[in-house]
């Protein structure tokens, strides 16, 4: 008790010294002569400032503990629930999440893309790309005449074209290419 009072008084003195730069009570009005270098740092100031002030007041009930562990079904349920939107990919046979890409098929496409990118980087290096870059596989360069490749930077991949990689990526497979000049209106208001 007395110690607490003493500590509070010391803190008030510290505050006064910080604020005014002078001693409280002032040297002239002191009853007992207090030496100015009396600030003894026996107790760490760091320990006084908020150390061990936050402490649990009462034991957590078992309901609270279980609620923290399991969560609330209406609010945030902490237990893991099995996913019900898993489907089987028709191309590879692995599972995938609905409305997402099949991870197995995507990994396959990704490795191929990375191979293409590394060949492009090796061939073109740091030169600026002014012409169109075309990536072709083995045996496809001879299919087109030499003028076709004239204004383009051709990158040849030293492997066969994968079976799933179609040559025709720009044309839609369902709609046939039309020869007529009429344009059908879309999204009529």
């Amino acid at each position: 008790m007395l110690r607490r009072v003493g500590r509070i008084l010391k803190q008030i003195e510290n505050i006064f010294a910080l604020a005014f730069g002078r001693q409280f009570p002032p040297q002239s009005l002191c009853v007992v002569a207090v030496p100015t270098n009396a600030t003894n740092k026996t107790s760490l100031d760091v320990l006084d400032n908020g150390f061990l002030w936050a402490v649990p007041r009462s034991r957590r009930s078992v309901e609270k503990r279980l609620s923290r562990k399991f969560g609330y079904p209406e609010y945030v349920y902490k237990l893991l629930l099995p996913k019900r939107n898993l489907l089987v990919c028709n191309t590879c046979g692995h599972h995938y999440e609905a409305n997402h890409l099949c991870p197995h098929c995507y990994a396959k496409v990704r490795t191929e893309t990375e191979a293409m990118q590394s060949t492009i980087q090796k061939e073109l290096g740091l030169n600026p790309v002014e012409q169109e870059v075309v990536v072709i596989y083995e045996g496809e360069k001879v299919e087109q005449p030499a003028e076709f490749w004239k204004g383009k930077r051709v990158i040849e991949m030293k492997k066969e074209r994968p079976s799933w990689f179609s040559k025709n990526l720009l044309e839609k497979s369902t709609v046939q290419p039309s020869s007529g000049g009429d344009v059908k209106p879309t999204e009529l208001a």
Binding site: V46, F51, L79, L80, L81, L86
Partner: protein
């Protein structure tokens, strides 16, 4: 049945418990399928453990069909704890603990039971009616005879 475990997985046992709980009572195929889509580090170790257990069951324990297994028990234990200290501002010290966990799984042959936890099953109509009647009959006007 086939028991298998993996010790000292670098993952917190309290976090691993959620994954172990999810897998309980599932068929082995369903468990592996679901674990592939759990976005937690411990799920990888659990999936590998269950695959190993399935392999051991087929090779050494005379299990005929590898899909005819279900997860009977799946639980976690605390492993090695590496303790250390870290410093904070203002001369404060912090305790650092690196937890490992052991994962235990037991596979049984056959089809899994419909409800792994009997208290969690959906109650039938007659059971619900009984409960409702009990609730209604328990009512009392306070401080009455």
């Amino acid at each position: 049945y086939v028991c298998h475990m993996r010790t000292n997985i670098k993952y917190s046992p309290w976090k691993m418990w959620y994954i172990a709980c999810m897998v309980r009572g599932m068929t082995v195929d369903e468990a592996i399928k679901q674990l592939s889509f759990v976005l937690k580090k411990g799920a990888i170790a659990v999936k590998e453990t269950i695959l190993e257990a399935q392999q051991i069951a087929v090779e050494k324990h005379n299990v005929e069909f590898r899909s005819n297994l279900w997860v009977a028990e799946s639980f976690v234990g605390k492993g090695v704890v590496i303790r250390g200290m870290r410093r904070h501002a203002r001369a404060r010290v912090g305790k650092v603990e690196y937890f490992h966990c052991h994962y235990f799984v037991r596979l049984e042959e056959g089809t899994p039971p419909k409800h792994y936890y009997p208290f969690k099953r959906e109650l039938t109509g007659s059971e619900l009616l009984e409960n409702w009647l009990q609730q209604m009959r328990k009512r009392k006007i306070p401080n009455s005879l």
